[in-house]
Symmetry: C2
Subunit: 215 residues, 2 copies
Amino acid sequence: MARSVPTTPRKSASQKRSQATVEALLDATARVLTREGYDRASTNRIAATAGVSVGSLYQYFPNKEALVAALVSRHNREMLELLRNALKEVASLDLATAIRELVRAAVDAHLVDSALHRIFAEQVPRMGQLAKIEALQGETFLLVRAYLEQRRHEISVRDLDSATSICVTIVEALTHDFVINKPVTLKGDRDRFVDEVTRLIVGYLRPSRAAKPLT
Amino acid sequence: MARSVPTTPRKSASQKRSQATVEALLDATARVLTREGYDRASTNRIAATAGVSVGSLYQYFPNKEALVAALVSRHNREMLELLRNALKEVASLDLATAIRELVRAAVDAHLVDSALHRIFAEQVPRMGQLAKIEALQGETFLLVRAYLEQRRHEISVRDLDSATSICVTIVEALTHDFVINKPVTLKGDRDRFVDEVTRLIVGYLRPSRAAKPLT
DNA sequence: TAAATTTGCGAGCTATGACTCGCATTGTCT
DNA sequence: AGACAATGCGAGTCATAGCTCGCAAATTTA
C-alpha cells in the first residue's frame, strides 16, 4: 500500500485550470467518502469520480492522507466560519441569550454536511496529518474562551480555561450526537434540544441561585 | 485484501488449549493495536505476536473485523462492569454524592486500558460489526436510566430519557477528553475534574435554587 | 494401541490499492 | 509561429495484507 512516506505538498495549483482540478478532487473525495466509506475510497476511484487522472491527483497531493486532510481542513473552516459569525452577532447580548444562539450555530455547523462529518468521526483514522484535526478544534477553544472572557462578569466559575474546555467539549458531543444519531430532526425537537443544552451550559457557568441583572 | 465477505463465527473454542489460543489472540491484538496502530495491525503480525499461526487465528475469527470486534466487546464489558459495581454501591446515597461516585467510576473505566481505548476511538473504523460498539453503550444508557428513575424525586427535569442521554453523553465525552488529552493525571487534577463534572450534572438534573433536603 | 477428532501450522495465492513515469495536451510568452 | 512551461493522462509497478488449504501434532475416544 503505502510505499514510502511522502510528505511535501508537491505542487500548489497556480493557474485557473489546475485550481479547478484541485476543487474537483476535493469535491469528489467528499462524494466518494460519503457514498462508499473510507476504505472503499481509493485514490483511483476518487480521481475517476473527479473526472481526473490519478497522476493529476498526485500532482497536487503527496498521498491519500494529505488529500483527506485537505478536505477535513476545508470542512472545518466552513464550520468555524459559522461559529465566528455567530460570535460576532452575539457579542453584546446577555449570556443566556448568547449561549442559545451559539448552540444553534453549533447545530447549524454540524448540519453543513452531516454525512461527511459522520464519516470523519467514524471512519477516518486520526493519525499523522489527521491528528491535527483536533488541533483545529483548538481554534474553537480560543474563540469561545475570548467570548467568555468578555462576559466574565456573568460567570461565576473560577477557572475560565477549564470551563471553556468543558463547554466546548459538551456542546460538540451533544450536538454531534443529536445531528448524527437522532433520526428525525423536526424543528420542535431541535428547539427543545437547543433549550436544554442552553440551560445546561448557563446553569454551569452561572450556578448562583438567581440570575444577575443584565446590563 | 478482503476476498469475499465471511461472516460466521467459525469455530467456538471448546477445549482448554483452544480457549488459551483465543485469549492469546485477543491479548496480542490489544498489544499490537496499542503499539503499532490499527493499520499496522495485520492479522499476520497479531498471530505472530500471539505465538500462534495465522491459520489458527482464522479458525476462531472469520476475519480481522470480527477479531477486533471481539476485543472491543471484551473491553466494553470490563468498563461496564465497573459502572455496574459503582451503581450498586451508590444506590442508596443522595444524588450529589452518588453522581460524584459515578463520575469517579467513569474515570476509572476509562483508565482500564486508556491506550487501547484511544485506539478504538481514534483509529478503528466504526462500521459493520463495529457499528455495534455504540449499541453496547446503549447498555450504559439503560443502567443509568434505571438509577435516575429510582432517584426521580431528586430530579426536576421533565424528560428522563433525554436527560439520561445527555448525562451519559456528557460524562463520556468529558471523561474521555480528560483521560486521553490531559497530559498529567495528578490526583489533585482528577479530584477537581470529578468535582466540576459532578457540579455540572447535579446542577442540570436539579436546577432549583436550593438543594432539597435529603432523606 | 489404533482410529477419529480437534487443534495448530505457515507457505503461498490472490486481490487490491497507493503511487510512478514517460508521454500527450493545453496554455503562455515573445 | 515557435519554444518553453504547466497541466493532464493512465497503464503498469510494487508492496502488502487478508485469507486458504493441505498437512502435522496433539487429544480424545474406542
